[in-house]
């Protein structure tokens, strides 16, 4: 079931040595670009044709995003910036970490090719501030690429200029949201911007900017190497290619897997993870984002980008199997703590809402809910979902809505404090 394209060289190469990546054919595609054998237009066409969609959660078609930015730039004396979003910090997600730790040069080659195809004034790799080791590895790898004449000024016969800078981020989940990331990069406060305008129109320093996830970017050299037509053959109609899945929970085999999109939850559970551990009983599985729950009845749903009939949204590809013995209330409390801590505090519904939700989660865990908590919960969730400024507030509401849909009011009334209130 596993399909290793992006991860094919992991564990074979030494991530600290550029020569090791080159020995398995690394930087071949970038060299082709620099020698003029692969034009920016061809790269753009190939990426568009491959059907590659953003691996950072939303699944926006990468080729389309690139075109939108190029269109906003055309005819204007503006620069265009390309940013790799390496801020991964959603609980239970560790795919970007693996890419950086196992093969940092695949990311750098992808970023360089993107900068070349987009004629970007500059590229940035924004690394989560908590992960200093990842930042150091990327910085070292960038230097190595520069020493090899793969990055820098006046490269190749076409005298191309490719500049990429690694930036150690502020640290915090909200910096992964693209407009917050852009603000942070231009020395503004780490707060989200209202969209539209989208970054492709008005991003870093007011210029058209493309923000792409680490996994999206690392796929670029692979796609060019195998060709868009071959790439399209993998995966599903509208969700092409492979995706990295971070799998957790009481299954026989957990961890990181590269799998073709469009596989079913059943295939994931049994063929990939070997089923549940002995004596465990599946309650539900969470895929992609907090609150995206599926029960045993949905095992034949396909894991793809779009949510439709018999389809499970893949999101970031993080999977959590929850069995009947998992402490569900503890899990909810864990989510609530995360959202309360990571809210940037800019907008009131999110700042107050996540705090109230944490209070409720704490009472829920102790089976000490107040009767009014149930109706308050409905109000908080509605306000959070409808009025918060960036999608963070919606994410915070989603896990509760998922639980309510799955377990019903019962789950909460049973946890209500006994006696007079």
């Amino acid at each position: 079931m596993e399909k290793k394209i992006l991860s094919k060289n992991w564990n074979k190469i030494n991530p600290n040595l550029i020569q090791s990546y080159q020995a398995v054919g690394g930087y071949k595609m970038l060299r082709k670009c620099l020698s003029g054998k692969l034009s920016p237009k061809t790269v753009l066409d190939q990426i568009t044709k491959s059907g590659l969609r953003g691996r950072g959660g939303a699944g926006f078609p990468t080729g389309t995003k690139w075109k939108l930015a190029l269109e906003s730039k055309s005819g204007q004396p503006k620069k265009l910036y390309f940013i790799v979003n390496a801020d991964e910090s959603q609980p239970g997600t560790f795919k970007d970490r693996y890419i950086i730790e196992k093969n940092p040069h695949s990311l750098i080659e992808g970023a360089a090719i993107a900068c070349y195809a987009l004629k970007a004034a500059k590229g940035f790799i924004y690394v989560n501030g908590h992960h200093f080791d990842q930042f150091k590895l990327i910085e070292k790898s960038l230097e190595a690429a520069q020493d090899q004449g793969l990055l820098g000024e006046k490269l190749g016969s076409e005298k191309i200029c490719l500049r990429i800078q690694a930036v150690r981020g502020s640290g915090g989940y909200i910096f992964g949201e693209e407009t917050t990331l852009i603000n942070s990069l231009q020395a503004s406060l780490g707060e989200a911007r209202l969209k539209p305008p989208y970054p492709t129109q008005n991003g870093l320093f007011g210029c058209p900017t493309i923000v792409n996830n680490v996994e999206t970017v690392a796929n670029i050299p692979t796609i060019l190497e195998m060709g868009a037509d071959q790439y399209r053959k993998i995966g599903d109609q509208d969700s092409t290619g492979t995706k990295l899945f971070s799998v957790l929970g009481p299954v026989k085999k957990s961890g990181l897997f590269e799998l073709p999109l469009g596989l079913t939850i059943r295939e994931l559970l049994y063929d990939v993870c070997g089923g549940l551990q002995k004596g465990r009983m599946l309650d539900f599985v969470q895929i992609g984002w907090m609150g995206n729950f599926f029960t045993r009845k949905s095992l034949d749903y396909k894991i793809v980008y779009d949510i439709g009939e018999k389809q499970a949204g893949v999101g970031l590809g993080s999977v959590l199997f929850v069995d009947k013995y998992t402490d569900l209330k503890g899990l909810i409390l864990g989510w609530a703590r995360f959202f309360e801590r990571e809210s940037c505090g800019q907008c009131t519904p999110c700042r107050e809402g996540t705090y109230r939700l944490l209070n409720i989660a704490e009472r829920l865990e102790k089976n000490y809910l107040f009767e009014k908590d149930w109706s308050n919960l409905q109000d908080i969730l509605e306000v959070l979902e409808k009025t918060s400024l960036c999608p963070f507030g919606k994410f915070a509401a989603q896990c509760w809505q998922g639980i309510i849909k799955l377990k019903g009011k019962e789950f909460f009334t049973q946890a209500m404090r006994k006696g007079k209130q």
């Binding site: 609980p91 501030g129 502020s170 020395a187 406060l189 503890g330 409390l333 703590r337």
Partner: protein, 145 residues
């Protein structure tokens, strides 16, 4: 290295501010109010904005670090593997309360570091400990006390 020397290593452009702040933070352990003003002057920005960026970060500090900086991940997966018991154990052993720092100890609960498979995760003065259980906490802390 003096603050001036550190700053001169960076071109005073907005995209270099974070890198400069990280460098100062690393050198001095935190970014003092005085240094905040130096940075503001160098980058031609308002000091409160610099301060806002520092306090909005989970890595940069506006106060010196405690002698012992302990972090425990309390996000969903580590929590389900018993990270709360680890927090309690540290609280008991050091007679402190999580998220109420003293000059000696600072026990902080933090979000997922992407090492869930190896969780529960505890970080002591930058060193990451994996698969921690309450019984191990005493031994780990002994290395630092």
């Amino acid at each position: 290295m003096t603050i001036q020397k550190i700053l001169l290593g960076f071109e005073p452009r907005p995209e270099n501010l974070l890198s400069a702040l990280h460098a100062i933070n690393q050198q001095f352990g935190y970014i003092s109010k005085a240094n905040c003003y130096h940075v503001a002057e160098y980058f031609e920005m308002a000091p409160p904005k610099i301060y806002g960026i520092i306090t909005g970060s989970e890595v940069l500090r506006d106060k010196p670090a405690a002698d012992l900086e302990i972090q425990v991940c309390d996000s969903s997966f580590c929590k389900s593997k018993g990270s709360d018991q680890i927090v309690k154990e540290v609280e008991n052993l050091l007679s402190i309360k999580a998220n109420y720092p003293t000059s000696k100890f600072n026990l902080k609960t933090i979000s997922c570091l992407g090492k869930c498979q190896e969780g529960p995760i505890m970080v002591v003065n930058g060193v990451i400990y994996e698969k921690v259980n309450p019984a191990m906490v005493d031994d780990i802390l002994k290395n630092y006390l």
